[in-house]
Symmetry: C2
DNA sequence: GTTTAGCACTCTGAACTTTAGAGTGCTAAA
DNA sequence: TTTAGCACTCTAAAGTTCAGAGTGCTAAAC
């Protein structure tokens, strides 16, 4: 990306970014002088800052204001200048105590609480994609008749999820018939990921079974439906009100657009999915985001796993002016803890 | 409440309330003259309005502004002046189509969608308390072993709910032992409401059973826990961003306080519970609300039933300046539809 | 006794003006 | 190459002005 920056420019750029992140005010040359102990006058810094502006790392909101980092400036900071924060003991403790509590057996509970910790530790809004059931592999299926009309279908996956759903059956199946159906399905579906259980596959199985049992129309419609439903994943939010504390959201209209976004789960899902990478933490600054509703924001995401299988994404969404170092460490720690506590 | 209002005052009060509800601007005497076709001059109306202010039905934000209804004014309007809206066909259609859709088998789905309809039909924020499982009566319990370690506990209630939860058992029970436990529990618990299944009752049962089977410690802890969990009820929100459209919430600080409230489920639950009445729609204006966070708001609630058993509350929360007539009819219709579609 | 026309008075909110302060870029000297 | 000095620019906050809406009161009209 053009000429490499001199050490002095790097220091100045870092000073501007750090200052702006913490104060939200444009940073002037005098402020940089004060925070750098490098024995240069403000005039010199001014020249360097003018250069940095020409190169695209800084921008001026108006003549005679200080500078603020551009998107490129943040990018450079994140890639080259940032010192990764040490996580304070408080937060470390908060995370691990939140996740290790005895009562946290339900995965949904874990996710909800994680979202809360994440947002309170970063003062931003957190998004966590619930476990992606669809990436798990089919292990076993059971059907438990409840009363004359209803049965409970139970699905078990290799990642240890147990999903169940009540279905209505118009006609009653005898235990033997039920047994036949179940073992046939188990045999056919074993090892497939939920994603692979497509409508066409189901139709095929249906045709196959119909030759033997002609009573299953209803049951199949419902099975199909319940699978479809499980494929849609929930996104959990934490600290949505935190954006109100950010000075960049003092405009009611921006707030509205943001909160509106938060109400649209499918969109949030897409945003998280777009930005997730199997193995590392991803930082998307401003227009690096696909979704145009968050082009003024930064999204930082990580993924969590169960038994080494990536199963969901966690993220922090906030203004581009966010404390990158801190957010990244917090996410990293949370993901580590999640991986550990979900795999046990 | 003091002297009864003359017909003329009633008309003027109604005019002020109606006008203020739709414009959010203080209503002056001229405006009242224009909207009333009663051939009086603004001076006369002015005198009457001054009287109404003395009586406490109207207030002036400042000298030389129009009047706005006081809390008492709204109360009088709701109790004596309001003409109940006819529901437009559009909304009627929207409600019934939302609730009758084939896929809406899961009760949670129904609730979520109801919250949405409610908020979009009223332009306010809607709150719906999920079905109060705890008020249902225990009907039947089943335990289905899944693998070496885990079992699925299924609870069926008289209102047709089916709740289930996976539990870990340290030791495996033989089918016979399991059968014994289950039938003992069924016998003991049948007909009790979930509310009545207290910790002490569970402890008692536990002591009882221990004499016969000594393996159940784990199972019981978990059963107890799962019941406890079911007792906490979720509150579903719809249209939280609608408050941003209300001019009374143009202040970022008020917005923050409101959104903060929305994030505190237990508080919302308490608010709804405080205000619900078995049989009719309840209107709580301003300080009539217990909770101090909504002392500037009006909460209108209704309850829904399954098989004539009250099982949850739906509500609309907005500024005291809300379209009472419309909101009440919308809620009434929604509740009717809910009752019908949940009881089938 | 009501009702109303007329008028002086009040208050607000929007538009405009002023001003202090922060910061810049340039020039010329170190 | 660095820096002191200075003229210049822009903003945000505080102050000012002003039209408009609405009132309450008085005295006349019905």
């Amino acid at each position: 990306m053009g000429a490499p920056l001199s050490e002095r420019k790097r220091q100045i750029l870092r000073a501007v970014v750090v200052n702006y992140i913490s104060t939200a005010e444009p940073v002037g040359s005098r402020t940089v002088v004060r925070s750098q102990r490098m024995g240069l006058s403000s005039a010199t810094i001014r020249n360097e800052m003018a250069d940095l502006e020409d190169m695209g790392y800084l921008v001026q909101p108006h003549t005679s204001a200080g500078r603020i980092p551009s998107q490129l400036g943040y990018r450079y900071y994140v890639d080259n200048l940032m010192s990764s924060d040490e996580l304070s003991d408080d937060i470390e403790r908060e995370i691990s105590s939140t996740l290790s509590r005895e009562k946290m057996r339900e995965i949904e509970q874990i996710i909800v609480h994680s979202a809360r910790v994440l947002s309170s530790a970063t003062n931003q809004t957190s998004l966590i994609m619930g476990p992606q059931f669809k990436k798990s592999a089919f292990r076993q299926m059971r059907i438990l008749p409840l009363d004359e009309k209803r049965s409970l279908v139970v699905l078990i996956t290799d990642t240890g999820f147990i999903k169940n759903k009540v279905i209505d059956l118009q006609q009653q199946l005898s235990p033997t018939e039920l047994q036949q159906v179940v073992s046939y399905l188990n045999q056919k579906l074993y090892g497939l990921t939920i994603d692979q259980v497509t409508t066409s596959l189901i139709n095929e199985l249906k045709r196959d079974l119909f030759r033997r049992l002609e009573i299953l129309e209803q049951a199949f419609i419902l099975l199909e439906e319940s699978l479809k439903e499980e494929k849609q994943i929930r996104v959990f939010l934490g600290g949505t009100t935190n954006i109100l504390n950010q000075p960049e959201f003092k405009d009611v209209d921006k707030i509205r657009r943001m909160l509106n976004l938060f109400e649209q789960e499918p969109l949030l899902f897409k945003i998280l999915e777009d930005s997730s990478s199997e193995d590392d933490i991803v930082v998307r600054i401003g227009t690096e985001n696909e979704c145009k509703d968050i082009r003024e924001c930064t999204l930082i995401t990580g993924t969590y796993k169960i038994h080494d299988k990536t199963i969901g994404t966690v993220g922090i969404l906030g203004p581009t002016r966010m404390d990158y170092g801190r957010v990244i460490t917090v996410i990293r720690h949370l993901v580590d803890h999640l991986n550990e506590s979900l795999s046990s």
